[in-house]
């Protein structure tokens, strides 16, 4: 155990992250990179980008509250130090996605109103389920909720967004790539730490399974709202802009409808949940489809 946790040291984090893939970046992208003109000049595209980015800020604020809240619930020094690095990662994510809202034209004095207006209520419920475990200092459930469910979802969502945006919007693509790199550590800690802890506390499994089912339901409801209300694809077609033919999970995103994209993402995330939970000995619970 000591060997495993020693890998999650502050030194390793410094060498990999700030001195590694974030070296030379500014708010997650290269200095001088901006949002594409097309996005800034078209009200429909800009509003969709703001709505999407607000969900990212909401999700990352939840992750920041969860990772910082779990520090004092952790049973060992190594986990506390690791969670300190994750707390800084999550705070950075909140900052870079908030900064993207400013780049998209949101004024600082409008920020909280914009977040309230666009925050998906289903995503807020998703966050509340997790933060209730954190508030009760339930480390095992909290880490499964945060590092397996929330981070597992974010990992797949960001990968899809990266595939969709990196060609048309290199600035956002680079921001997402750095975030995905952070998520690798987060899901790694979740699986590795909980995989061993659940052997010590098998009585926690039923509660964790209920939490996963509930969080998964709110996640699917968020996906449904996001894809069904998104007007970007229709607007791009109206403008005669060709969609990038990028690969995600073996499918060409350039030919899928929003509903088909929702299905691909939901299936990918749920399959990943099932696989990840199975590896740590938790039985995946199929959520209702909203």
């Amino acid at each position: 155990m000591s060997d495993f946790l020693s890998a999650y040291s502050i030194q390793n984090w410094l060498e990999s992250c700030p001195q590694g893939y974030l070296d030379g970046t500014e708010f997650g992208h290269l200095p001088g990179e901006g949002e594409p003109e097309l996005l800034l000049e078209n009200d429909i595209l800009r509003e969709d980008a703001i709505a999407t980015t607000v969900q990212m800020v909401v999700g990352e604020r939840c992750a920041l509250a969860a990772s910082s809240g779990l520090i004092n619930a952790a049973p060992d020094e190594g986990s506390r130090r690791y969670l300190a690095t994750q707390t800084l990662d999550e705070a950075r994510h909140v900052e870079i996605f908030t900064h993207r809202l400013y780049d998209l034209g949101v004024r600082k004095d409008q920020l909280e109103d914009v977040i309230r207006r666009y925050a998906n209520p289903n995503l807020v419920r998703f966050a509340e389920v997790l933060l209730e475990k954190v508030d009760r200092k339930d480390f095992v459930s909290g880490v499964v909720g945060q590092n397996v469910v929330l981070e597992g979802m974010a990992f797949s969502v960001f990968e899809m967004m990266h595939a969709l945006s990196s060609e048309l919007n290199p600035k956002f693509g680079r921001t997402l790539a750095g975030t995905i790199a952070d998520e690798r550590r987060h899901v790694g800690f979740g699986e590795n730490r909980i995989g061993s802890l659940l052997k010590q506390y098998p009585e926690k499994k039923p509660e964790i399974e209920r939490m996963q089912k509930e969080m998964s339901y709110w996640m699917l409801a968020t996906f449904a709202d996001s894809f069904r209300h998104n007007q970007t694809q229709a607007e791009m077609e109206r403008l005669g802009q060709e969609r990038p033919h990028s690969d995600y999970q073996g499918v060409d995103l350039g030919v899928l409808s929003p509903e088909q994209m929702e299905d691909v993402l939901a299936d990918t995330v749920l399959k990943e949940f099932k696989t990840r939970l199975g590896r740590i000995g938790v039985e995946y619970q199929t959520p209702a489809r909203p």
Binding site: N12, G20, R184, V187, G188, N192
Partner: protein, 101 residues
């Protein structure tokens, strides 16, 4: 440890024949400290193929590369997500990595 492949254990099945050796180039993977970067690469999606010295980390989906051919029973380390893995034979006959908690 310089190579994700950890060879200090007893010989594993099939180890009687010499392992193939591989020269690793930098694939541009920048999520680990510089001296370890050549040991990892990103999975390129549909159409990508694993070489005999490569295996995918099931936790973070990065491709782990060794300077030597990988075989069943080998223990490898995924630095991007810090998972310890064991190389196994998958149902389809290919090599896959499983997490060792």
């Amino acid at each position: 440890m310089n190579d994700p492949l950890q060879l200090e254990d007893a010989p594993v099945a099939g180890s009687e024949t010499p392992r193939l050796r591989f020269l690793l180039d930098d694939s541009g993977f920048d999520e680990v400290p510089k001296k370890y970067r050549r040991f990892y690469r990103k999975w390129r999606g549909a159409g990508d193929v694993l070489a005999p010295n490569e295996v995918i980390c099931p936790v973070c989906k990065v491709v782990i590369r060794s300077t030597r051919e990988l075989r069943v029973g080998d223990r490898v380390y995924c630095m991007p997500c810090m998972s310890r893995l064991v190389v196994m034979r998958a149902e389809d006959g290919t090599l896959e990595a499983r997490v060792a908690y």
